[in-house]
């Protein structure tokens, strides 16, 4: 153990390995931040068609859940609107896509904007990381760069802290240059948010927030959702909620009265309306 403690790191390593790696990482992440901003400025435009499809589904769902609250004729006209064999909007859609040779598959791949957005984000993240790793690996491989000061770590950290140095006798608290690079990379988030967040981006809020509330990109093909909703609506058994509403309401009133009566066993007279109601019941 004593031999290992005596391991001295050359100050030149500090000057030419540790500090440059950290500095370059800061620069790169600042650049990355700005490039990501530039790219996200070409904001997603939502096509009317897309919105319409999503809202149709939501509206059909509403009809399915609350259909009992509207009269039968109104419900029926809506049902026709959605599910009529020739003109129903949930069916017309199905026909269109099934005539398409690609069918459901074609529909799934139709919307590419979400994919390209993800690709952009990945490129911005991925390219500099690969480049930097190659750079560190090439120039600084094999350097023991830093020693962790506080306490000895278990042997399991060896692969994490000493990547690029295959030496079983080296104490775990020494960090290789490649691992130093990774540590810096992961720790950069917090520093970035302090350094860069002061910069004010008008675009992020004033520009976009009210413009177009983004609807999450569709995963499931829209025709399948349409079919589900159509089946839901077709299966509804319309049972008008208002059929017996008068009796129900009167029962409710009586219940309230009873509760009140049992609560107020004292001499306080209940309100005039309730007493009138009771009188009527006696008659």
């Amino acid at each position: 153990m004593n031999v290992q403690e005596a391991l001295v790191l050359d100050p030149a390593i500090r000057n030419w390995v540790v500090i440059p790696i950290a500095l370059i990482l800061i620069f790169v992440s600042a650049l990355k931040f700005n490039i990501a901003n530039l790219m996200s400025q070409t904001e997603r435009k939502q096509s009317l068609q897309n919105i319409m499809e999503l809202q149709t589904i939501l509206r059909a769902k509403r009809l399915a859940t609350n259909s009992n609250r509207i009269p039968y004729q109104s419900f029926n006209s809506r049902k026709q609107y959605f599910t009529n064999r020739e003109t129903g909007i949930l069916i017309a859609k199905e026909k269109n896509t099934s005539s398409n040779p690609m069918g459901v598959l074609g529909n799934a791949f139709k919307d590419q904007s979400g994919v390209t957005d993800m690709l952009k984000g990945n490129i911005v993240n991925f390219v500099p990381q690969v480049g930097l790793m190659a750079w560190v690996n090439h120039f600084f491989s094999g350097f023991v760069a830093v020693k962790i000061p506080f306490f000895p770590l278990t042997i399991r950290f060896k692969t994490f802290l000493q990547r690029g140095i295959e030496m079983s006798s080296l104490d775990v608290s020494y960090v290789s240059s490649l691992s130093w690079y990774f540590l810096c990379w992961f720790g950069m988030e917090g520093i970035n948010s302090i350094l860069l967040a002061e910069k004010y981006q008008p675009n992020s809020t004033l520009y976009a927030s009210q413009l177009e509330q983004g609807v999450p990109p569709q995963q499931q093909p829209i025709t399948q959702l349409y079919t589900n909703e159509r089946e839901n609506i077709e299966l509804i058994n319309h049972d008008w909620l208002m059929e017996n509403v008068e009796q129900r309401f009167l029962n409710k009133l009586k219940n309230i009265e009873e509760v009140k009566q049992s609560n107020k066993t004292s001499t306080t007279k209940s309100s005039s309306s309730s007493s009138l109601l009771k009188d009527k019941k006696k008659k």
Binding site: L250, L253, S272, S273, L276
Partner: protein, 328 residues
């Protein structure tokens, strides 16, 4: 919409505070923030206080907040937008345009959609609808799915009095944005203005589907059915009035707040009255619970009037006697 009682109380408190003291920038900022969050409206106050705030203390808002929170600079511009809208509502287009040009255009440039929308609204306020519409058309070319801009276009047609066109436009809007309750409500209003109750009914059905426990929609829906008339419709209207009472009946609430659904009580009485009159059979065709409900409404109406507005009791009594179908 349902109003939160505690928020209203808070609004009152704020109003008193704001009136009492001499101008206090911090309090005003807080007040404006409160209004933005709760979406309550107090336009005149916002216009007055806000314009002083912006013209005298604007630098203070931006600098002060920058230290505490990095995102508050946006808040400063949210305040500008809020105040500009309030000014436009108070018909102070000139002041509003000053703020737009000085603060917003300088900051966000000519191309910002939100700023150009405000500009167009300012043009609307000063009655130059053509130019405003041009701006909206330009925005829609770039962003064909911009809801607010489309709505503004409808409102231009409405303020020009071209209701028919407004309805067509709103219909095309609703083809895409068919779950927007605000638009359905507006379409219902326009249809009522043109006396096409059937179409308005459709809109209210849509609203009921969207917000099934909001009693106001049921009241309005019942009123429409009643207005269309016919013996069957009177009974349907009666049912919907009753349902609105089910959702908002003051007896189930605290008695300190005056009842808010008197319309339904009057509506039920009128429904029964009209039903009996058109039918010619009198009360024989009514079902037992309907008559009971009718009597309950009469007594309830009397009780409420006696409690909250006793001086109108004679009028209400006259109404009840006139519409009384049982003792005729």
């Amino acid at each position: 919409m349902d109003i939160n009682q505690s928020e209203v109380a808070q609004l009152k408190e704020y109003r008193e505070k704001v009136y009492k003291k001499s101008f206090d920038a911090k309090l005003v900022i807080e007040f404006l923030r409160f209004l933005r969050i709760t979406k309550l409206r107090s336009t005149r106050l916002v216009a007055d206080l806000g314009s002083t705030l912006l013209s005298k203390y604007f630098s203070k808002i931006t600098t002060e907040n920058e230290v505490t929170n990095t995102f508050s600079v946006c808040v400063a511009y949210d305040i500008v937008e809020q105040v500009v809208l309030a000014l436009l509502e108070c018909n102070k287009a000139k002041e509003a345009s000053e703020f737009i040009e000085d603060r917003l255009v300088k900051k966000f440039g000519e191309k910002s959609v939100r700023v150009s929308r405000l500009r167009a609204m300012q043009l609307e306020c000063s009655n130059t609808f053509g130019k405003a519409n041009d701006i909206y058309v330009g925005v829609l070319e770039k962003y064909p799915a911009d809801q607010l801009t489309m709505k503004r276009q409808v409102s231009i047609l409405k303020s020009k009095g071209q209701y028919q066109q407004a309805i067509t436009m709103l219909n095309t809007y609703l083809q895409a944005f068919m779950i927007d309750p605000e638009a359905w409500l507006e379409l219902a209003h326009l249809n009522i203005k043109l006396l096409s109750f059937k179409n308005a009914m459709f809109c209210y059905e849509e609203l009921i589907l969207a917000a099934p426990i909001n009693y106001i929609y049921y009241v309005k829906y019942a009123e429409l059915i009643y207005s269309i008339g016919g013996a069957e419709n009177y009974i349907v209207a009666l049912k919907y009035y009753t349902h609105s009472l089910e959702l908002n009946n003051h007896t189930s609430q605290d008695n300190a707040i005056p009842p808010t659904n008197l319309t339904a009580l009057y509506g039920i009485i009128m429904c029964i009255f009209s039903f009996c009159n058109t039918h010619g059979y009198g009360t024989t065709k009514l079902r037992e619970p309907q008559i009971e409900l009718y009597q309950w409404c009469q007594s309830e109406l009397r009780a409420i009037t006696a409690k909250y507005t006793p001086h109108k009791l004679s009028i209400v009594n006259a109404f009840i006697q006139h519409t009384d179908v049982l003792n005729k």
